[in-house]
């Protein structure tokens, strides 16, 4: 079965080569960071987490987003998702691997990472994050490959795997909930200290994950002649659209609580992200995330509108554009604003801004490329197996 990834056209090999080159650059950049220390990044005493942890947070969402494809198929026997459920499970595998790589990249002493297991600390949310992320990876590898190999052999997946599939559904919720708990349980960080953080994480995840999947599905329709089907696409539009709307509703709740209560701590970070914030001890205006955050809101709303128009007009090009808009909008929201914004202002009410370095961006690109590399191989496998099994069905 695995040999199927070794057969491909020039585009396939060209894409893999490109990814390998970026992965190589990322590995070199990581060596630079490993030898110098995390000072090679733009992080500082005041902004202690940067683009690594923000990518990690966003990608946990992408992984959890796979749930939206798994749940209808296995729990509600929604047959139209037959061709994309496995894609959802395999997207989760690639996303969790990226998450783990970003965590390792962010550690000051990566060689001591196993201390989390050697000295388990159930009081720390990071302890639970380790359990749920690795557990989710295990569940998706197990379920994904058992289901795929059954399909390869032309049989239905065995019953023993069903409990694992059912377990993976609440587990997907747990990974993003625990990731939100990393932030929203910290006293003194007002922007993160909100009970809607976990729900909002899930809403944006259930939009961004399926949006990425739909874009990839549309690309595969053109490059691999693999069509997930109109019904599945239409259903995904509903899922992505409503999840994205719920995310904006929750963002609106945050804005209301902050500005109507008029409590400075609740307004500071929102001010910083959307309007810019003046440091009162220096009089300097800080606003380097404002263009990104405003673009994020605009792209998100535009994406939602276009998404439903695209479905009515049955336009794949417009569908892809709207999904990209939503994905990028939520990437900015969670992959930049949420983590970086939370550190502004500092606990001593100063404003310190963060700008990632070239080393940091190269490592980040390397990790993303690794994720897409794994995703490409897995999807190649799924497409080949699906095509074989469907051809066999027609013959018989």
């Amino acid at each position: 079965m695995v040999d199927k990834v070794l057969k491909g056209n020039g585009l396939y090999w060209g894409w893999l080569t490109l990814l390998l080159m970026i992965m190589g650059a990322g590995a070199i950049a990581y060596l630079v960071q490993f030898n110098y220390g995390l000072g090679a990044t733009g992080m500082s005493r005041d902004v202690t987490w940067g683009i690594y942890i923000s990518q990690f947070t966003f990608l946990v969402g992408v992984a959890a987003g796979g749930l939206m494809l798994v749940l209808p198929y296995y729990l509600h026997d929604y047959k139209s998702f037959g061709r994309i459920t496995l894609l959802g499970e395999f997207m989760a595998i690639a996303a969790v691997i990226m998450c783990l790589m970003f965590i390792i990249a962010d550690l000051g002493q990566p060689m001591r990472a196993m201390n989390v297991i050697l000295h388990p600390s159930p009081n720390s949310m990071l302890f639970y994050d380790m359990i749920v992320l690795n557990g989710y990876l295990f569940l998706n590898v197990l379920c994904g490959f058992v289901v795929l190999s059954s399909e390869y052999r032309g049989i239905k997946y065995p019953n023993w795997v069903k409990p694992f599939i059912y377990l993976s559904i609440p587990w997907a919720i747990s990974i993003h909930t625990v990731t939100a708990f990393l932030y929203c349980g910290l006293p003194g960080r007002h922007f993160w200290l909100t009970a809607v953080l976990a729900p909002r994480f899930l809403a944006s995840a259930f939009a961004a994950g399926p949006a990425l999947l739909l874009v990839i599905a549309l690309i595969m329709k053109r490059t691999a002649n693999f069509d997930v089907g109109q019904t599945a696409k239409d259903k995904l539009v509903t899922i992505i659209g409503y999840a994205a709307i719920i995310n904006f509703f929750l963002l609106g709740c945050e804005v209301f609580v902050g500005y109507y209560s008029n409590i400075p701590g609740h307004m500071h970070t929102l001010d910083y992200l959307f309007f810019g914030l003046v440091d009162h001890s220096t009089g300097v205006m800080h606003n380097n995330l404002v263009p990104f955050m405003r673009a994020s809101v605009a792209m998100g709303i535009l994406g939602i509108i276009m998404l439903f128009i695209a479905r009515r007009q049955k336009s794949d090009a417009m569908l892809a554009t709207s999904c990209i808009l939503i994905f990028v909008a939520f990437w900015i929201d969670k992959g930049l604003g949420l983590v970086l914004g939370g550190f502004v202002p500092t606990p001593m009410e100063h404003i310190v801004e963060y700008v990632p370095t070239v080393v940091e961006l190269t490592v980040t690109a390397g990790v993303w490329s690794t994720g897409f590399f794994i995703l490409t191989l897995l999807y190649k496998l799924v497409v080949a197996v699906k095509r074989d099994s469907e051809a066999n069905l027609k013959v018989s």
Binding site: G37, L38, G39, R45, T48, G108, L186, G188
Partner: protein, 275 residues
Amino acid sequence: MDNRRRKFLKLAGLTAAAGVAVPMLGSRAQAVSGHGAAPAAHGNDGHEAAPTGVRQGLVIDSGKFHDNPGLAEKCQKVCHDYHNVPKFPNSKDEIKWIWTDKFPNVFPDHSHYKKDARLSAMNILALCNHCDNPPCVRACPTGATFKNSDGVVMMDFHRCIGCRFCMAACPYGARSFNWRSPRGSENGKPFIKNYNQEFPSRMRGVVEKCSLCSWRTKQGKDPLCVEEANKGVEGAMVFGDLNDPHSEISQILRQRFTIQRKPSLGTKPSIFYII
């Protein structure tokens, strides 16, 4: 409601201690006692339980520092020199254990619109609060930061994995990270100017902070900053056991009006300020 939450926390704490290390059991028992406004967990009568064990703390008389310019800087120098705290050319790499800032920055919750000239001009000493209920210890995934039996929040530099969760968790900005090796140098200038052989320097990739000179206080001495401050003005800083009603610090706390940093967060700082 509060009692139920406390019971849950205690249970969680016990589970934690059982999984981590035996010494933590002792400190966990302390974590629910001590100074603060929240009702204690013992019994359902809502009365605060008598504090048990030792809890080291400080009173800082900010007025005395204000009247003696330069004294706070001396305290910082003696601390940073002894503990091999490096000086980096780039401010983003900064490491500090004790430092000064303006009143609205050290006490953002206490700051108000019309401050008198003295308060506005004041530079207030800031350092680790050695909270009775430390969020950093709760956040640490390896037990590398922990509460000692004397209430002091400590760092195990050899266990720290450098995830910096504690830095995000600390509401006082008291923690620093070794973004690069403090043992190195740039343009021929070492980051640690005069290396003190009596105290270990750290390696890159770990978090560090004030330890309230636990290595000295174990021998019955005052922390270095306290000793230095009192050389300048007697009573500028007082160190002692907050749980001992007869200690000098307890007597001062009974007599004087003091404030803590961000008391609303429930961390129960062990550092008190006379303004």
